[in-house]
Symmetry: C2
Amino acid sequence: MATIGQIAAELGISKSTVSRALRGLPGVSQDLIDEVKAVAERMGYVPSAAAAGLTTGRNYAVGVVVPALTRWFYSEVVSGVDRALAAAGYDVVLYDMDRNHDVGTRAFARSLLRKRVDALIVVATVFTEHELAEFDALEMPVIAVGPSAPQFRTIGVDDHAIMAAAMEHMLGLGHRQLGYVGGYDEESLSLASAADREHTFMKTALAAGALVQPEWMLAGGYKQGAAMRATRELFSRDSWPTGLVCASDEMAMGAICAIHAAGKRVPEDVSVIGIDGHEYGADYELTTMAQNPQAQGEWAARQVVAEIEGATPVQEFEPAPFTLIQRGSTAAPGR
Amino acid sequence: MATIGQIAAELGISKSTVSRALRGLPGVSQDLIDEVKAVAERMGYVPSAAAAGLTTGRNYAVGVVVPALTRWFYSEVVSGVDRALAAAGYDVVLYDMDRNHDVGTRAFARSLLRKRVDALIVVATVFTEHELAEFDALEMPVIAVGPSAPQFRTIGVDDHAIMAAAMEHMLGLGHRQLGYVGGYDEESLSLASAADREHTFMKTALAAGALVQPEWMLAGGYKQGAAMRATRELFSRDSWPTGLVCASDEMAMGAICAIHAAGKRVPEDVSVIGIDGHEYGADYELTTMAQNPQAQGEWAARQVVAEIEGATPVQEFEPAPFTLIQRGSTAAPGR
DNA sequence: GTGAAAGCGCTAACAG
DNA sequence: CTGTTAGCGCTTTCAC
């Protein structure tokens, strides 16, 4: 493995010059730059991030903490983060908290703290007091993506607003008998988002004088399968709503499946609206309040890079945008 | 940020002793060890991976290359890799090749080559000749997970065998009119697995004298939404198979949804079998040939760690196991 | 323009 | 058991 010193020796010049030439710093003649680069290429030279980081304190890496990589939303965010970071020349160090949250707390903190990363992006993860204190001690930029975390600056949609918008659509169509598919995903560790959505659903429904039976509040666990089962059960009873508001698109797709299984039609018998903007929504003709987790990830990544490189930290972010995508799963009731 | 030197100064001892004490190396009195650890804790000492790596050449990090993090299979594998690596004290450096494959080739190689990682785990990614050559030059353990890559040692199921087993189940039930939901996922970059499964489906079907109409070969793109649409179309025609063999569970769940939408029953009118062992399969009563991508990821991670730490490389891995999970979506035809 | 020297934080021989 | 002495590969003053 070629080093800067070997290149220097090969050309009979000093290491400093090689370093400067390779990094395009001023003060090296163009001829030498070309020569150095050629030799570096020929020798298969590759800079050592560790060595460079030792002196500069910069690692060109940012940590991404995620509660469960296998969940759609999180993998989308991470994907966006990765793309933006790669474009900026930074690596992604992944910390999947899936199940090893309590077990691995110590290990997580230790490894995190190894000066591996220049900043941290936290995706919808809840931490202990102790961990939060450690983050503070880190003294590096930290930005959260997803459900807002009071301790961090957060990039994400306003969960109240997005649900209110979904409700506006359903109420506007004339639905007054509404069911809700929500619940909590135990593994995702973040309950705030789910609670906010459910709360606003209820509040808005009641304010509009809509009928919401207790049995119409379904626990879908933010998972397609669970939502499908819960919905199937709902339609095995003798009364059901004209509209189903789902706290996520994954659950909405499960619900649609269950409605079909029950021999009902969407939207003729039941309207279904989702939230999130899942990739498969189009195939299911699903009306949804779409947000863009990838874009949020990219945004967070760019912001974090800017701060690493000296930009003054933004104190508070605008809520991420969302838009109604109207498709075939919603219509006026009783058609 | 406390360093080893500061701790040494604080206690009036040498850096080496501190280093040894902290790492639990032999040759330090228990008393001193305790003292050192106490001071380190108090000063909030955290080791610098970069500095340690510089001398030892070990980074305690492994790179994970993945074609599209947002796909179920890959995120499962990465999740498993992460867990095993975290347990072994290693960090995960993620390289999501999603879309930036051609654009980012150079950046990918460069960053990979920065001696950041001690080994590489490649998940179902296809590389150019040039990239492969660079991997060789890296001289570090490389293991592939998922569809077998001829250039790498691979951990994964035998795609022929798993499809053959699925077919055995369907044929054993008496199905002789079979449809196939498969296709290719353009974004995943790995076509071998899809091709193998389709090939074995065809071969096995023909060998059993089963009827397979060309229109029954559906392109589901390995995506739930696309599979749903393709299946919906199939059932809008005037002839359809008694059994549907799906190359993945995600597609199978989409197919089930479409079958319900068409007013048919599973398994009474159509049997459906999937492959993979998706988490939601149970909710859908889906019969499947289950594999365990998380376990495969863990296995690869453990193997790679062993090799980093000096174990002699295993030359070839056993194919990963799979088992039939028989649930309610399959039954004898014509019930 | 270019070079020499010092040092980033840690580990790894050697001595004692 | 503990300390000394060299570096690891790179960047960064400061001279020339």
